[in-house]
């Protein structure tokens, strides 16, 4: 996968922070000098290099997947789950606020916006952990031959970013950072009705009202729904095979007016089946074993990954 940006011809490098004052989240630019701009360019390039070292063809991000702390995945910028990041990337003339770092505890992320000669943008974003963490610890520096406490506010930039955004995709190096900054939990919960509506079209034999209620209160179930919809693998699901698999996995399913009804905690397990996470193997005769996959990837028939 390529990055639609030219690091060799950067004409502006802007720095900004995301602030959360409890009621509202805002993104503003803070003016920085050439050295900081150079550091931001370097961080962005380091991030891209780290991504390339991980995978040249990354998997698409799935909200239900359990990822390692550092794992390169991508998400199209047009995806509903990328809405917050898309807004940030496409926002024009973001305000400048020289006072934005006056209250560092409100800063939840920082970002860089690079522009190349062809006016293509690259937004690089990092969750503010180290950036804020420095404020809580005591820094010392060498003045003459004695160490002294640094009394000014000091902000420490990280080595790389969590997410790079170009015109096509979000390139995610740290999925947890993206989920935090991109308000993913709120996004998947808010998307429950639209996701249910989309999946319903393919599974007319499933009663979704109890599932919708459950997913509206359980973020994990909402993530499964978002993932099931994004995979677009619901179209030809066979009612009989689905019932049989659920029975094998111990999921209680009732049938009412020709529709399958799932309730209570079985909803979560039913969604795991739909998200291809519950499976059974029988390697010892007469002793089938059931598993739940926190992370999974499809295999080719020849044995390689798709």
């Amino acid at each position: 996968m390529n990055l639609d940006f030219d690091f060799q011809n950067v004409i502006t490098a802007e720095f900004g922070v995301g602030q959360d004052d409890g009621d509202d989240q805002t993104f503003v630019f803070v003016s920085v000098d050439g050295e900081v701009q150079g550091a931001l360019r370097e961080m962005s390039q380091t991030t891209w290099t780290a991504m390339q070292e991980q995978a040249t063809t990354p998997a698409r991000y799935e909200p239900s997947e359990k990822y390692a702390s550092c794992e390169y995945v991508y998400l199209p910028l047009t995806d509903d789950l990328a809405a917050r990041m898309r807004d940030l990337h496409t926002a024009n003339n973001l305000p400048t606020d020289g006072q934005a770092l006056g209250n560092p505890s409100e800063v939840f992320c920082y970002f860089a916006r690079l522009t190349d000669r062809q006016h293509r943008r690259l937004t690089a974003l990092r969750r503010a952990t180290q950036f804020k963490g420095v404020l809580k610890s005591r820094l010392i520096r060498l003045v003459s031959d004695a160490l002294k406490l640094v009394e000014d506010k000091v902000f420490k930039l990280d080595v790389d970013f969590d997410v790079l955004i170009d015109v096509h995709n979000l390139h995610i190096l740290r999925p947890s950072g993206f989920e935090f900054v991109g308000e993913l939990q709120q996004a998947v919960l808010a998307a429950v009705p639209t996701n249910i509506e989309a999946i319903k079209q393919d599974l007319k034999f499933v009663e979704f009202s109890a599932i919708a209620d459950y997913a509206g209160q359980h973020p994990r179930a909402a993530r499964y729904l978002a993932s099931i919809r994004a995979q677009k693998e619901t179209k030809n699901i066979d009612k009989g095979l689905l019932k049989k698999h659920c029975k094998r996995m111990g999921i209680e399913i009732k049938e009412s007016k020709g529709k399958l009804v799932v309730e209570g905690d079985d909803v979560m397990r039913f969604l795991e089946v739909m998200d291809r996470r519950q499976y059974q193997v029988e390697l010892v005769k007469g002793k089938p074993e059931r598993f739940k996959a926190g992370s999974r990837s499809r295999l080719r028939t020849s044995g390689g990954e798709v």
Binding site: E14, N92, T115
Partner: protein
């Protein structure tokens, strides 16, 4: 969304830029002289008021260039505000130049009135209004952000000082920051 309590930074810089913008008035005062102050005091004072803010303005532009305080502005709608110089002329130069200074109370009243005008220019971010820019061939545009429906896009207008004769919608311009709302384009 932008915070409602966001404040404009560089307060002292903006104050000195306002003083720079009214420096032609000090030149006129020095030429005209008055009965209350001996010429050498008046010349020295006026020279100080002309030189310091303008040197500061020059330093601010030089600092912005040295520190590479650049950003990209996208033009939504642009208005050429050469007519603001007329407002400037009528609000500042003519009334203050024409004021009769026969007594110390006249001078005190004039300085207080000037203080009000300086405060208004500072408060309303009119520090870009400077005859010097016009003399050096620069135009002043007010740039409104594009109406893109993006909740994070800037909502406030920016001022761009540039040698361009016109700006078109959607144009991307790399500019130097003089203050949070005033930007300067240098041809490099």
């Amino acid at each position: 969304m932008t915070k409602h309590h966001q404040s404009e930074g560089l307060k002292i810089a903006r104050f000195l830029m306002v003083l720079s913008s009214i420096s032609p008035l000090f030149v006129l005062w020095a030429i005209r002289g008055n009965k209350l102050l001996p010429d050498y005091y008046l010349f020295a004072l006026c020279a100080l008021l002309v030189v310091v803010p303008n040197v500061f303005l020059w330093m601010r532009i030089a600092t912005a260039r040295r520190l590479q305080e650049r950003r990209e502005l996208i033009v939504g709608k642009a208005e050429d505000h050469r007519d603001h110089l007329l407002v400037y002329l009528f609000s500042m130069l003519l009334p203050f130049y024409g004021a009769e200074l026969a007594t110390w109370r006249d001078l005190a009243a004039l300085l207080v009135a000037l203080g009000f005008i300086v405060f208004l220019f500072w408060h309303l971010n009119l520090h870009y209004m400077n005859v010097l820019f016009a003399a050096l061939g620069y135009r002043v545009f007010t740039i409104y952000p594009p109406s893109d429906g993006n909740p994070l896009s800037g909502k406030i207008s920016q001022v761009l000082i540039t040698r361009r004769v016109g700006l078109s919608t959607g144009q991307h311009i790399a500019v130097y920051r003089l203050s949070d709302t005033v930007y300067f384009e240098v041809n490099e």
